[in-house]
Amino acid sequence: MILPKHRTQIPIFDALDGDRIRIRPFQPGDAEAHFAAIVESRERIERWLPWVPTYQAVDDSRDTIARMQARWLLRDDFDAGIFNRQSGALLGGIGFHPRNWEVSYFEIGYWLRTSAEGQGYVAEAVRVLMEYLFTTFDAHRVEIRCDARNTRSAAVAERTGFVREAHLRNARRGSDGTLSDTLIFARTDLDHHAAAHP
């Protein structure tokens, strides 16, 4: 894609559909569901996601959604929800974060509510989103980073065809004060096209 002169005019999807899931930006009406999903999942996800403990009331979700909408509009960052395509229920979150527009290099991040675990929803969402990035944005590199102890997150990256590239030691200090390592996975345009045309 040749990027327009004004970044807010970069074309972007309204929704992306997989077989079972829909990815779309959060809207104000999603605040209650967003907060409920975090409350339900707190114990499972707060170890990996430093923002989880900051959500103490629905207004925290309302504020976040307003900020996500603004960043989406500015094309600074892209945080979306993963929804059940049939029921519309919120399953979790997924986003892509531009790391270098010139390179067309993006990082994907995700989380899942506890009650939606084990169905492959995140892997499906990652596949749909990376396909979009490679075809629409001509991405050269799509990256996933996770805590080296987060085996479930690493398994999603591996299942969706990302290559483990690096293990960074002492790369993060968690809110509990402990140091942890970070894994970097990536899929390049070369990987993606080789997989599409073996």
């Binding site: 790391r99 270098n100 010139e102 390179v103 290099y105 050269h140 590199r141 990256e143 290559v163 590239e165 690096a166 293990h167 960074l168 030691r169 002492n170 790369a171 993060r172 200090r173 140091l179 970097i184 990536a186 390049t188 345009d189 070369l190």
Partner: protein, 193 residues
């Protein structure tokens, strides 16, 4: 050590001395040395350091040196010059760049003027700077990144005892417009030094 109520009052070294290299923060009078070193090494640095295309005038080097002094003063960044200990000749540039004070983690960068190659100045400087980071700044992680095609730079990291942690494919665009890979080397506080 990690947090300091007044960052500008955080104690920092005046100089570090190795066997053959002197490492110290820049002074305003260093601009002509920096300008001359870049001018004579431009073609040699350019594939790895796009900034080498600039510095066509000594005023640009003066601007660089002044900014280095200011960053040091604010303790935001620790750029240093490298000098031959015996002759006092300027041989290159390096720096300890804070990336995350919560860890703390620092990145080390470096370049050498062409004619100063092969004396081990940079390897020695990297060892001095990383040792200072671990001992005086509480570093838990010090890392070096370089273009995967830059064998000399990677060799410095390996010689200084850094461990290759990975290779990020197609994460950057080189000066010639080609997508390139980046190597990440690191040393942790637990690693042997």
């Amino acid at each position: 050590m990690v947090t300091h109520p007044y960052p500008t009052l955080r104690p920092m070294f005046d100089e570090l001395r190795g066997q053959s290299v002197l490492v110290r923060p820049y002074r305003e009078t260093d601009a002509s040395d920096v300008f001359q070193a870049i001018s004579e090494s431009r073609d040699y640095l350019l594939p790895w350091l796009p900034f080498a295309a600039h510095y066509q005038r000594v005023e640009e080097a003066q601007e660089f040196v002044n900014r280095c002094i200011a960053h040091w003063q604010l303790r935001e960044d620790f750029p240093v010059g490298l000098w031959d200990l015996a002759s006092g000749r300027f041989v290159g540039s390096s720096g300890l760049h804070p990336r995350d004070w919560n860890i703390p983690a620092f990145e080390v960068g470096y370049w050498l003027r062409r004619e100063a190659e092969g004396h081990g100045y940079v390897t020695e400087a990297v060892k001095l700077l990383s040792e200072y980071a671990f001992m005086a700044l509480g570093a838990q992680r010090v890392f070096i990144r370089c273009d995967a095609r830059n064998a000399r730079s990677a060799a410095v990291a390996a010689r200084a005892g850094f461990v290759l942690e990975g290779r990020l494919r197609r994460d950057s665009i080189a000066y010639d417009g080609v997508l390139r890979d980046t190597l990440i080397y690191a040393m942790t506080a637990e690693d042997p030094r």
